[in-house]
């Protein structure tokens, strides 16, 4: 299966400067679940007593939403992302993806759900630099099977092509930071998840590489219909998002809704 031809992004024609164009493997079939948060409280003990890291009484995110979460350091942004990603146990409350209370499920069930429903992208990419880009993208497949199925391998290659990552490189370490973030996004998309959770995806990139990543995230939402929830301080990124939630001291302090530009 060959990837579709790439359109020129800046007109320079080199693979690294082309605008990546993403195709979902099942166009039109992606039906992201709606997110409902009810009475969620996440806390921890710091020795001096209980600290509330996040408290959201109610929040609703319809399928396909492009949501940015912003706020100062320590405001609970990451906790929010990890909570809706099913990575922690709250003191109370529910995180419903459609009707599924993900935080109430067993760890095994949450792992599997995360693998197939949520794609995580991180500020520092967290790739294994010793592996090839393709091996990095295929890493989530190794959680389930000893050898990735042929279709999965083909999808991984197609994703790298679509995201303009040079696959000939033996080592991921030799890629530029922008390319590495695109490998990380390809890894998040391996199982074609309907939800993308991104933690400061452009924070460690220069403006040009950041713009490419922003463009990819836009495509994932507007073209493929995915729900994209990103933590960011990047004004360029925030400008593109239809909904922005500000957190402060673990609580929603502001919310802005607008038509996506």
């Amino acid at each position: 299966m060959r990837p579709p031809a790439l359109s020129a992004w800046c007109g320079c024609g080199t693979p690294n400067t082309r605008r990546p164009e993403l195709n979902a493997s099942k166009p039109g079939n992606l039906r992201p679940p709606a997110l409902e948060i009810e009475g969620l409280q996440v806390g921890y003990s710091n020795g001096a007593g209980a600290v509330t890291a996040l408290e959201i009484e109610h929040m609703s995110v319809p399928p396909g939403t492009l949501l940015a979460v912003t706020g100062p350091s320590g405001s609970g942004k990451s906790t929010f992302l990890y909570a809706i990603g099913g990575l922690l146990r709250p003191r109370r409350g529910r995180v419903l993806w459609d009707t599924r209370d993900i935080l109430g499920e067993t760890e095994t069930a949450r792992d599997r759900w995360r693998r197939h429903t949520v794609g995580f992208a991180f500020q520092d990419f967290h790739l294994l630099p010793e592996l090839t880009p393709l091996q990095n993208v295929l890493l989530p497949a190794s959680f389930e099977r000893f050898t990735a199925a042929r279709a999965v391998r083909e999808r991984a290659r197609a994703l790298l092509d679509q995201l303009s990552v040079p696959q000939a490189r033996a080592s991921t370490a030799s890629l530029s930071r922008g390319e590495q973030q695109r490998v990380a996004i390809a890894r998040a998309l391996l199982f074609d998840p309907p939800v993308i959770l991104a933690d400061e995806p452009t924070a460690s990139l220069d403006a040009k590489a950041g713009a490419v990543v922003i463009d990819i995230l836009m495509q994932l939402s507007s073209r493929d219909g995915r729900t994209v929830i990103a933590i960011s301080h990047d004004q360029e990124l925030l400008k593109q998002f239809a909904r922005i939630v500000a957190l402060d001291h673990g609580r929603m302090s502001d919310e802005e809704r607008r038509a996506a530009s």
């Binding site: 990575l87 095994t108 995580f120 967290h126 890493l139 190794s142 959680f143």
Partner: protein, 404 residues
Amino acid sequence: MNPFLVVRATIARHRWTYLLFTLLVAVATAIGVAITTQEAALRIGSARAADKFDLMVAAPGSETDVVLAAIYLRPGTVPLLDPAMVGKVLAEPRAKISAPLGFGDNIGGSPIVGTVPAFADYLSGGLSEGRVFAAEGEAVAGAAAGVAMGETFRPDHGRNPFLEAGTGRVQHPQTLTVVGRMKPTGTPWDNSVIVPIEFVWRVHGLPTGHAEGESRIGPPFDAARVPGVPAIVIKPETINAAYGLRNLYRTPLSMAFFPAEALVRIYEVLGDIRELMGWLALATQGLVVIAMLAGVMAILTLHRRQFAVLRALGAPRLYIFLCVWTQIAVIAVAGALAGLLLGAGAAVLVSHMITRATGIVLPAQIGPDEWLLVGGMIAFGLLVATVPAFVSYRRSVIQSLTAQ
């Protein structure tokens, strides 16, 4: 589930550290393997060398000294058996062979040993070329002795091959001619030159066990004309005879013993040393594993965020457990197998050196004990690996993701 991608990447990232851990495990294993292999080789080689020496009769004293002098041909002072006893033992009717052993000379470093023709033939199990000596001036060379067939030479007095003429070197006037060569026996006797006992007695100015002017060699001997000897080897007619003769010659003037008895005592000491060294090797292995564990734990702490990211990507806890466990398992297995080869190599090298020095062929071979040791090391490593694996398995994803 396939943790090998992560394992490969982690090992590649810390390849020098992991190589060091593997080498440490290899050296610790090799020490244990070399000790057990060498000890077994010593037992087998020394027992094989004593195989043809059924019963020894010697003057009262140290059985070990007699074994070292008569079987392993080590230079040493052994008191001579009383001539009256020598005459009696050499005439023993229940012995198939009653062979006196006489030492004291060498040719080019090869000890010259006097005995009877039957023993030379018995010791070799048939010659590889030529024939057994039939006259006083004839000799049979050991398989590795540095004298050629047909060569005639004058033996040097004493056992020191490095004395030059004019510096204390004394050559006997009588000559010996090599008429036969023994098959290899894997014993110090391979380097010896075996001659009629009468020749040894004659060159040292002693009676030759026969009447004046009589030139024949071998039994029967005239009991009144035999001098003292360091030891007599008896090959008894039967097992019962062996025990009977041992009791018979345990007298105030003589001691009789099976060399195996003396070897068992030597092996007991050897076994104690082996046990001590075995414990030391085990302690070394334990320390190495603990050091490796501490090192791996430090590396895993560096990687805790990476594992947390894998969890965020959907990796089950078991996957993280396997990633950590497999890394340590790779070190344990690779180190133990490398240690097996290293230990076997060291044992072969030491055996070769001992063979060169003593002539005793030591068969250093990997046996069940060594496999057990290596298996134990691997099993211990795999078991110990569960500790950091479990720590990583239990580690909080959130704390690891938010850790700086």
